[in-house]
């Protein structure tokens, strides 16, 4: 088995890039929507067979065991080539949590099936009344003999209709703080009493669902970590997510389109447009420089602090402004649905705009990130 971390960064980058360029389905490059399992299952298979489906997992679990620096390169190359994320929350989220907090039996059962794509996971955190204030969740799990009986509902569950399993947070007790009394459960979505209602988003796609639980019996052995201590389990993953979510590559693609369209339409002869375009371009490039600082920190093996939140705020808000200028650059064509031909350049104006909207909402809204920065970085009083 190859020790990827022993390779030079350049060699590793070259190998990853070559593989993506050779093997990734070209029609799926730079897609804007959230990739579905039906689109991605062949690619998953290919990655699985090569041993590359879980870059973050240890080798004895079938992963690549990349260190943080190599992980950043892997993600950068994905973004560079426009490789979509498959429904990979099993790999990025629940897998690592099971490895850290799960029992030997849970690890033996779930990890290989997650790796092979037999089990596809979705995340059951948000509820209608628990979004940014996640700890206010009300879905109840009551112990009844060998089972937890789950009642309640989850919402904004991405790709729930592609998933076979859900990892969810449910209330099992009451503590002094509302973060206490929450437990982390693994649920087979085929269990009786579960109903899915797909929700159509602004882009017209059904990528997330509302999930209803009606006396759903979840075996007691599906509890991960201690009962009532699920918050600790869920919290263990943050940091790195805010780094990858704050990567400047994704808005980079919208910038690339904007530039192509502006050229085709002669917008660079308009001094007003040039001013706005260049300001945005520098916002993006300067954000990339800031991102680079955090990447260096990760590569040095230092843990990321709360200050990484600033990347998500800056990158996502810059991305939104970019897609707003893109619509404006399209003029009347900017609001026509579907791919448009603009003086020989193909462009989809509306989808980038739509998909940039929730970027300041998911993964901790911009407001929540600012709260975090105010409290933990600026040490402002509560």
């Amino acid at each position: 088995m190859t020790d990827w971390n022993a390779m030079s960064d350049e060699d590793f980058r070259r190998e990853v890039r070559a593989f993506f360029e050779r093997e990734y389905p070209p029609q799926l490059r730079h897609i804007l929507h959230r990739a579905r399992w039906s689109e991605m299952k062949d690619w998953w298979r290919k990655l699985y067979e090569k041993g590359w489906i879980a870059p973050n997992w240890p080798r004895n679990r079938g992963g690549m065991a990349l260190d943080a620096g190599k992980m950043v390169i892997y993600l950068e190359e994905m973004e560079r080539h426009g490789v979509a994320r498959p429904p990979d929350q099993g790999i990025t989220q629940v897998g690592p949590l099971i490895m850290r907090f799960g029992t030997a039996a849970q690890q033996e059962h779930y990890l290989p099936r997650t790796l092979s794509g037999e089990y596809i996971w979705c995340q059951g955190y948000s509820e209608p009344n628990a979004g940014s204030d996640l700890a206010g969740l009300q879905t109840a799990a009551v112990l009844d003999g060998g089972h937890f009986v789950v009642n309640g509902q989850k919402i904004w569950t991405s790709l729930a209709d592609d998933a076979t399993h859900m990892y969810l947070l449910a209330r099992t007790g009451k503590g002094a703080k509302k973060q206490q009394g929450i437990s982390f459960l693994l649920v087979d979505l085929a269990t009786p009493g579960i109903t899915l209602r797909p929700i159509r988003n602004l882009a017209g796609h059904e990528e997330f669902c509302q999930v209803f639980f009606d006396d759903v019996r979840v075996p007691r052995e599906n509890l991960v970590g201690e009962q009532d201590d699920g918050w600790t389990v869920a919290k263990a993953l943050l940091g790195f997510e805010r780094l990858s979510i704050g990567s400047p590559r994704r808005p980079g693609y919208a910038m690339n389109r904007l530039e192509a369209i502006a050229r085709a339409k002669g917008l660079f002869d308009d001094a007003g447009f040039v001013d706005r375009f260049t300001a945005l371009r520098l916002d993006l490039e300067d954000g990339a420089t800031l991102y680079g600082r955090f990447v260096e920190q990760v590569k040095r093996g230092e843990p990321l602090g709360q200050d990484v939140s600033m990347l998500k705020v800056w990158t996502m808000e810059t991305w939104q402004r970019l897609t707003e200028l893109l619509i404006e650059a399209g003029a009347e064509q900017g609001v026509v649905a579907g791919v448009q031909d603009v003086a020989g350049v193909e462009a989809d104006f509306l989808n980038p705009f739509y998909y940039a909207r929730p970027a300041t909402i998911y993964g901790g809204s911009s407001e929540i990130q600012r709260n975090i920065l105010a409290k933990y970085v600026l040490k402002l009083p509560g």
């Binding site: 800031l290 680079g292 600033m310 920065l373 105010a374 970085v377 402002l380």
Partner: protein, 385 residues
């Protein structure tokens, strides 16, 4: 400060940390805002004794080659010094003299002139300013109306140079002029007959000099550079000046934001520290993000400049620094006034000093919007060639 041999990147990091420490030590003991206030609007504008101390610490020679008595270090080191000193709002003309004038003179061709003047500049005994600009908003160092006509082997110079920083106590001016064969860079001592200096007061209590030259004579020995060498010296000086001006803006914004945050933590209204209000917290966070962006861009870009890239890349890097730092400093110093409320609008409170320094530094050597346009032009994307 002496040049110590640093081995590898770790050595450089260590060395720069020591440099930052010595700057912090200097600003803690060698200057304060009472001194800054005393010198505001005064004819002296800055203190030659303080300038001499800065020279003794080696800072005036950071960009001057060792063969001319300098340290032969780079913009990375100069940025550390400029940023640290700007926190304390020192009025001494570090960028005007130790960056603009020093860079132009070091890049000039006249070896005898360099041998005689650069060591004195480094020692703090001679304070020259670069007199390159003529019209407001015209930032091309080659846009020169001042005429140099041949006279007894040297030149007779006529014209007006404006917006000369550090002019108040300048001992000499490096003047750009147009001769028949192209640009020339001329050494004009302050007492030269026909050279008349006037000072225009600035928002921050310092001044810009206007230098009127009426048949001012420059001997052959005072011709620092001509033609493409003069042009290159001016361009390089302008770019380095912009970069270090950005470092000064960073120092100003660092301190202004600290002051604001301290105030948010301690000022009580409605029975709570005002920093507990989310509306103010989020604005403070946005300023912090701008501060961090400016810091990241400054550090990365001066490092790139120290690798001495081709002229177009050099200018783009300088513009990138100036655009980001000017924009961030403007936001941070203006919000500092708002955060402090009525006291922020008083002359006795220090936030206004930071606002005014940021105003001057931003307008000098090109506003953010000008630099963004230059960046667009130099990097093609968005530039209509």
């Amino acid at each position: 400060m002496t040049r110590t041999d640093t081995t590898g990147a770790a050595g450089a990091v260590e060395h720069r940390m020591q440099l930052a420490d010595s700057v912090a030590d200097f600003t803690a003991r060698g200057t304060d805002l009472a001194r800054v206030r005393r010198l505001r609007g005064s004819a002296a504008e800055y203190d030659r004794a303080v300038w001499k101390k800065m020279a003794e610490l080696g800072w005036l020679g950071i960009l001057v080659p060792e063969s001319f008595g300098g340290l032969g270090l780079g913009l990375a080191e100069m940025a550390i010094v400029a940023r640290g000193l700007a926190r304390a709002l020192i009025p001494e003309p570090l960028t005007a003299t130790a960056v603009l004038a020093a860079t132009a003179l070091a890049a000039a061709e006249n070896e005898a002139l360099k041998r005689s003047q650069l060591p004195r500049l480094v020692a703090g005994d001679l304070l020259p300013s670069l007199a390159w600009q003529e019209r407001a908003g015209e930032l091309d160092p080659a846009a020169i109306e001042t005429r140099a006509t041949p006279f007894e082997g040297g030149f007779k110079v006529n014209g007006v140079k404006r917006f000369i920083a550090g002019a108040a106590q300048a001992d000499a001016f490096l003047v750009s002029a147009r001769a028949a064969a192209g640009a020339v860079l001329l050494w004009v001592p302050r007492e030269t007959a026909g050279a008349h200096l006037e000072l225009e007061p600035l928002a921050d209590g310092r001044s810009f000099g206007s230098l009127r030259l009426d048949d001012a004579l420059v001997p052959r020995s005072g011709v620092a550079a001509s033609g493409s060498a003069a042009r290159e010296a001016l361009d390089r000086a302008f770019d380095y000046g912009c970069a270090i001006n950005g470092a000064e803006l960073a120092g100003v914004m660092d301190r202004a934001l600290e002051m604001s945050l301290d105030y948010l933590r301690t000022r009580v209204q409605f029975g709570r520290p005002i920093g507990s209000f989310q509306a103010l917290q989020h604005r403070a966070v946005d300023l912090h993000i701008h501060n961090e962006l400016a810091s990241a861009v400054l550090e990365e870009s001066v490092a790139a400049l120290d690798r001495d890239p081709v002229a177009a890349v050099r200018s783009a890097l300088a513009s990138r620094i100036k655009a980001r730092c000017a924009d961030a400093a403007a936001r941070i110093t203006r919000e500092a006034i708002q955060f402090h409320g009525a006291i922020g609008f008083t002359d006795e409170f220090d936030a206004g000093l930071y606002l005014k320094r940021a105003l001057v530094l931003t307008a000098w050597l090109g506003a953010a919007s000008w630099h963004r346009r230059r960046y667009a032009r130099l990097t093609h994307a968005g530039g209509s060639a």
